[in-house]
Symmetry: C2
């Protein structure tokens, strides 16, 4: 009767459509390269000695490391180093620090904000060869591993022990746990298991000068001094290179079900969300919103049929997971009541893995279906629940005279995280400037976050001011300058540059 | 059918027994006062103007603010300021920073490590007049309040809305939410709701120079820049004064039950814990251990009867909370199986509030019962589950020739947090030096934490090295010096002094 929790959701297989990637330095001509040393043949010898010939990449093979997954930015680094151990990372950084060589840190390179590829010719340090599971404690559920482990591999590993990872992403087949921490990844289980900051018990990081900071605590409670690990979670490789991780895995739930529900208005969606939280607080593992434009896009462009009345304005996907099967009976009764009271208009419930997977397919195929229009402007924002959807019709009105294929809103309503997408046939500067910085100003007005889970990276650095005050940025700079005074770690990322336009 | 979750556990009413508190400066004669300005009459006028006559305390009334709850340390400050607003805190700190006046930050003053009272003549800034609830969002469960709100008041407030606070402490009737954050309080619900670091969405803090850092995010997801709030959570007032807080409250569970269980060995306790986690992972809200010495102490010194066979070696209190009453049936069936397999030897289950409260009384009265012996050496450590209890018999052997009344272990086994207590008739240096630093060395050897939830404060600063490496302490110092270069905030706390012996 146990439920295969992991394989319900399909790995997102979308590949971006744009093949010729303009160099970042050409796209942003006023951006200046920092005064870092240029790698010479002596450096190459040194690096090769440390990582070995097989883990030193140069030539044509470097190309894929220079470009991001969305093919929107590209650096022109000549070298990729793939250390296998913390000691090798330490030796590399010690050397780079002394020589003043800039380093770009790359995990699975699945980010959407240009954070994991070089901007100029930074040496790329890929964590992908640090992919060992170090230990798993069956009693405490604590997993310790190297930073380059692929998330899906870890999921499969702990699943065999009756546990799950406390987070799940579309990119799980490629993204690495180190990158997940470095970007404080959110994903599909946050409403149940909370932010990564709560699940990470400890980490080991190599500082800019090569010193190894060992906060690899495997204990749930430690109140001795400042909680330094939190500095590295979400700092996108600018403060240190995370090399090892200890993470608290929850026991796997035994029963899972999913409901696909149609509603007539966003007000009803909020009322319904409130009722679901009240009734199933501890069991609620996802509450995903999709508007009619998103559903139509999936139907039309991918050919997946909506399992309920397809003429409604809003749809939500509710996933519950629990230790007993009482939830199945309970959700059916609950939905019947909601139907009778006309809070919801239509619903279907699935409690078998294949049926649940079918419901998830609709939600998971939205990004892919929108890309089929040609080009997509993607925004990842958090807004208060009350204002969560307002921006979608607002942007629709704003763009109504322009050549736009679809404006839609979907995402993790349970966490207040909206994916606002504008699909067009091709990239168009007029449309771009009609959306930006308008979206960020709007988000800022409601005290939202301009980057809920994707981070700032390179591409959003100039918009950081919409979510962070000058004092916050100053404090961040102080910390950065203190820990990495030569600023060799992931330069041009997070902090606004003089000109990144 | 809803369950009054909050009133199950009684506020800890123990008061310490020692009335004449030696001044800290006399107890640690080699400790040197920092070169801070001494408050003069001009300063007094300035402070009085800011907070008003009623919130400026001087004279005899200051005494209770100078002494900690355990009556183990005492400063000799002459003045207590009770600002009502962030702006007043800002004005006070700006002035103190310019003048070089040291400030001790005090919340409910319920700490056990001398962190909330002055060491010398620091001005005491009490947050107790900042006690307003600012907002509560019924949809998201986000509470925003001032730092001086008493935890129990917040519990009662959110309970009326169908929510609970994500943590609970014995000191809830006195401790303040700001102090809870400043010390990263743990408590009785951590196993279910995790560390405070995961539940705090945002905070506002006043920096040493009076600047107001506003990270008062009320959103679940925000990946824009470094997560600065985590610097302040657990930094014990040394980096800033927390003035406002946004915290994510979970929906209240509808059903709660508690089981009191007897076992014959610690191995069986661990096996049982593993089974409980597997069976009730999402519902498990407490897993508390008590050894036979602790139970005998409660029976003998308080007169509370053990509800099951009182001749067993170990007892655990398991609390489950869930959204449906299936757990009641489920735990009974589960315990019967465990009895048949002789994993456990005796058990009783309670699902009514008064009965649950009776079971909790045993656990809650352990500290008080031990104090009745005369004096108690208290240690609050985290250890790996495998080694959790080993230290108790080890210390027992070590002290067997000395005049010791009881050596017992109890605490939050679910979180790996052991309260090791040694009761004697009176304080005795020979016994003290037989325990310390032995306990800390032992804990360090197993990579445990020498302070699981109580923090470092003043009293444990010299032991910080047993849980933190030199590099970690260096990095902490860098951050401290950067944010508070004149070191006026809570001096002599956390960081080891030249001589705090």
């Amino acid at each position: 009767m146990t439920f295969n929790f992991f394989n319900v959701r399909k790995l997102c297989t979308t590949t971006a459509l744009y093949k010729n990637v303009q160099l970042t330095k050409d796209r942003f001509p006023n951006l200046k390269r920092g005064s870092y040393a240029v790698v010479n043949s002596t450096d190459v010898d040194y690096f090769t000695n440390i990582v070995g010939v097989n883990n030193f990449i140069s030539g044509e093979e470097v190309k894929s490391y220079n470009e991001d997954w969305l093919k929107s930015v590209s650096g022109f680094s000549k070298y990729v180093l793939k250390p296998k151990t913390t000691e090798q990372v330490s030796s590399i950084l010690k050397y780079c620090y002394e020589r003043g060589i800039a380093v770009c840190i790359q995990g699975g390179n699945t980010g959407l904000v240009g954070g994991s590829v070089p901007v100029f010719d930074e040496v790329i340090l890929s964590t992908s060869a640090m992919n060992k599971i170090i230990s798993f404690n069956k009693l405490s559920g604590v997993l310790v591993c190297q930073a380059g482990c692929v998330l899906e591999n870890l999921m499969n590993y702990v699943q065999n022990e009756g546990f799950i990872m406390p987070f799940d992403l579309g990119a799980k087949g490629t993204c690495q746990i180190g990158g997940n921490l470095a970007t404080n990844a959110g994903g599909l289980r946050l409403i149940k298991y909370g932010s990564l900051q709560g699940s990470v018990l400890g980490l080991q990081a190599v500082l800019a000068d090569g010193q190894v900071l060992d906060c690899l605590n495997t204990l749930k409670k430690d109140n001795t001094g400042y909680h330094l690990k939190h500095l590295f979670i979400g700092s996108e490789g600018t403060l240190g290179i995370i090399t090892k991780i200890a993470i608290q895995c929850p026991n796997a739930p035994k029963f899972v079900n999913a409901s696909f529900i149609g509603l007539e208005s966003f007000d009803k969606v909020l009322s319904f969300f409130s009722l679901v939280r009240k009734e199933f607080s501890g069991s609620l593992s996802s509450f995903e919103l999709m508007d009619s434009v998103a559903i139509k896009s999936v139907q039309k462009n991918i050919g997946i049929k909506c399992p309920i009345n397809d003429n409604l304005k809003f749809y939500v996907l509710v996933e519950l997971s629990a230790d007993n099967n009482y939830i199945n009976h309970s959700i059916q009764e609950f939905l019947e009541k909601a139907l009778n009271k006309e809070i919801i208009l239509d619903a279907t419930v699935a409690d078998q893995p294949s049926l649940i997977q079918n419901l998830w397919k609709i939600r998971e195929n939205i990004p892919e279906s929108l890309l089929r229009y040609g080009y997509v402007y993607k925004y990842d924002i958090t807004l208060p629940h009350e204002n969560f959807y307002e921006i979608v019709p607002d942007i629709r009105r704003r763009l109504e005279k322009l050549d736009v294929k679809a404006v839609c809103g979907y995402g993790h309503l349970g966490d207040g995280n909206l994916h606002l997408n504008v699909a067009t046939s091709e990239h168009n500067n007029e449309i771009a400037s009609a959306i930006e910085p308008y979206v960020y100003e709007w988000t800022s007005k409601y005290k939202g976050s301009i980057s809920a889970e994707h981070g700032i990276g390179f591409l959003k650095s100039k918009y950081l001011k919409y979510s962070k005050s000058n004092l916050e940025v100053d404090l961040m700079r102080k910390i950065k300058n203190n820990i990495d005074p030569k600023k060799i770690l992931n330069p041009y990322k997070i902090f606004p540059q003089n000109d990144s336009n």
